[in-house]
């Protein structure tokens, strides 16, 4: 394998609901070897598990069809392989769906691989999980799902088997990107320095537009042109693990040391110990440098042995949240909003609504940063917001109803009331010994 070999990874999505056009743009015009779609948020799998219980053929990402219809023919024609965690709670069903879609689209011989083994609900029920301190993890009542963050290895296995498309459930986001690097560049799974560099390349790329100028603009300080046509990133990684982040020259957005530094530190706690299933990365000596316009080199990432335990997300039913909002404006708006909140709180007491937590916000004044940080501001429009956590759905429903009744019973001039009620699917974290997890790859072909 040549030392100057470069593998080019494009990001097709940074979350389930992400824009689709930037992925199409990369599939059609970028010199990339892989197009990678990261589509699983923390609690997505628990919600997908509920869907799978209702329909065994579902439980995967609802946007998978739209994404695959948009890029599959082009990727096939250009030889771009696809990796995605859109399988959510049902990678087999997702792979079957994509295989069938391949048939529909007239793409014979498409090899689709499903990575299985992240579902560890049986281990959670058997009490085989531990908490952060290594003590036995007590499964929450109403437990719906338990999924371990798999690493890159089963994806590497799928790529080595010739997969055109690899579909996983829960896999560490960075592993989706590290896997093709290990496969193409022949990196060993104990080559900690290279693995750490590949993992951090994945970390930079996994949120798509967040490294190309999305989630960045602050007019007058950090200006970004063309956010409505933001391009998604391309990562160029060499055999020694050197990383360049770039984008299509004519796509909007920007790749600068500033966008890359923000994303490098995104969701990082101790920069000397960024844990992934594949490697422990250390970015304390990392550097970012602008090589040319929209090309940033990230160097100096180091790595050490991967953690012994793998992280598990446990989804569980956690009661209901009821919410209501109503707006006030003009002179005295804040005073009327505060009065509205007092009235609703008293109404909930009078009605005997049982809530374990009640939150009263004046949106426009203190809902995001609290009272102390907003002291001295007097907005001309505000929105009173009440949210409560209740064990019973009926009690949660009542919260929004009490806000709505302010129309005719509350302070003057309230408008635009809204109400909502939802069941809470919460997520707790646990750990499982690596050797307890069994992965496999299932194959199908169009």
């Amino acid at each position: 394998m040549s030392a100057s070999r470069v593998v080019r990874l494009g990001t097709g999505a940074g979350y389930s609901g992400d824009r689709i056009e930037p992925a199409v743009e990369l599939a059609e015009r970028a010199e990339i070897d892989y197009l990678i779609f990261e589509c699983l948020a923390e609690r997505t799998i628990a919600l997908a598990q509920l869907e799978r219980q209702r329909d065994p053929a579902r439980g995967f990402d609802p946007f998978l069809e739209a994404r695959m219809r948009a890029v599959l023919p082009t990727c096939r024609r250009r030889g771009i392989r696809i990796i995605t965690n859109s399988g959510a709670a049902n990678p087999m069903a997702a792979a079957t769906f994509v295989r069938d879609l391949g048939v529909t689209l007239g793409l014979p011989g498409l090899r689709v691989a499903a990575v299985l083994g992240d579902d560890v609900l049986h281990l959670a029920r058997d009490g085989a999980l531990v908490d952060e301190d290594g003590a036995p993890f007590e499964p929450p009542s109403g437990m719906l799902s338990a999924n371990v963050y798999l690493g890159a290895e089963p994806i590497v296995q799928a790529l080595a088997g010739g997969a055109d498309i690899v579909i996983t459930g829960r896999v560490a986001d960075s592993s989706l990107f590290l896997a093709p690097l290990m496969h193409e560049l022949g990196w060993r799974c104990d080559d900690w320095t290279r693995l750490a560099r590949g993992a951090m390349a994945g970390h930079l790329l996994e949120c798509a537009g967040q490294v190309t100028g999305g989630y960045f603009a602050d007019p007058g300080y950090k200006d970004v042109a063309g956010l409505a046509r933001l391009g998604f990133p391309i990562g160029e990684v060499m055999d020694d693990g050197s990383i360049v982040i770039t984008k299509l020259a004519d796509a909007a957005g920007c790749v600068t040391t500033r966008t890359c530094t923000e994303q490098l530190l995104y969701e990082v706690h101790d920069p000397a110990a960024y844990a992934t299933p594949d490697v422990m990365a250390d970015i304390t000596r990392a550097t970012v440098a602008q090589e040319e316009e929209n090309r940033v080199r990230v160097a100096g990432v180091e790595g050490r042995e991967r953690p012994r335990a793998l992280k598990v997300s446990v989804g569980y039913r956690d009661g209901f949240v009821g919410e209501g909002q109503i707006s006030y404006a003009g002179p005295g708006a804040v005073a009327r909003a505060r009065l509205a909140l007092d009235v609703v709180a008293e109404r909930l007491r009078i009605a005997g609504v049982a809530c374990s937590e009640l939150r009263l916000d004046v949106v426009g004044l203190n809902a995001l940063h609290g009272d102390a940080l907003s002291a001295g501001h007097e907005p001309s429009e505000v929105r009173a917001r009440v949210a409560a956590r209740c064990a019973a759905a009926r009690d949660a429903q009542r919260v929004g109803e009490e806000v709505e009744s302010l129309y005719t019973n509350g302070p003057a001039g309230g408008g635009g009331a809204t109400k909502s009620m939802r069941e809470v699917i919460a997520v707790a974290s646990a750990f499982v010994p690596r050797e307890s997890v069994r992965t496999s790859v299932e194959w199908m072909e169009s």
Partner: protein
């Protein structure tokens, strides 16, 4: 009095009930000032209304950046929180509103 926004930019990330906020100097020359003035204690006090747990600061001089990890910052966790901004995405802007004296060194 100026605010941190004049010297640095920032992004917030979330994991469970923990929020991390980066603070990145626009100009490398301003990093030492940030490192001296924006201590974990000052950040803890700034977020007294919001953060219930401890605040840890990590230094990344080669990136001209500090990283603040704030425990108990997200109302019990993103998936449970009753907050309008359950992820605490807007906390980066709150950090940039911190005042820094003109004569701070």
């Amino acid at each position: 009095m100026r605010i941190l926004r004049e010297l640095a930019h920032s992004r917030t990330g979330d994991k469970g009930d923990t929020s991390n906020i980066s603070l990145i100097a626009y100009e490398a020359a301003d990093y030492p000032l940030l490192a001296r003035y924006v201590t974990a204690e000052r950040v803890r006090a700034h977020f007294a209304d919001i953060v219930r747990g401890e605040v840890t600061r990590y230094e990344l001089p080669r990136l001209g950046a500090l990283n603040f990890v704030m425990r108990g910052a997200l109302g019990g966790g993103v998936t449970r929180s009753l907050a309008l901004d359950a992820h605490g995405k807007s906390l980066s802007s709150a950090l940039l509103s911190m005042e820094i004296p003109e004569d701070a060194r």
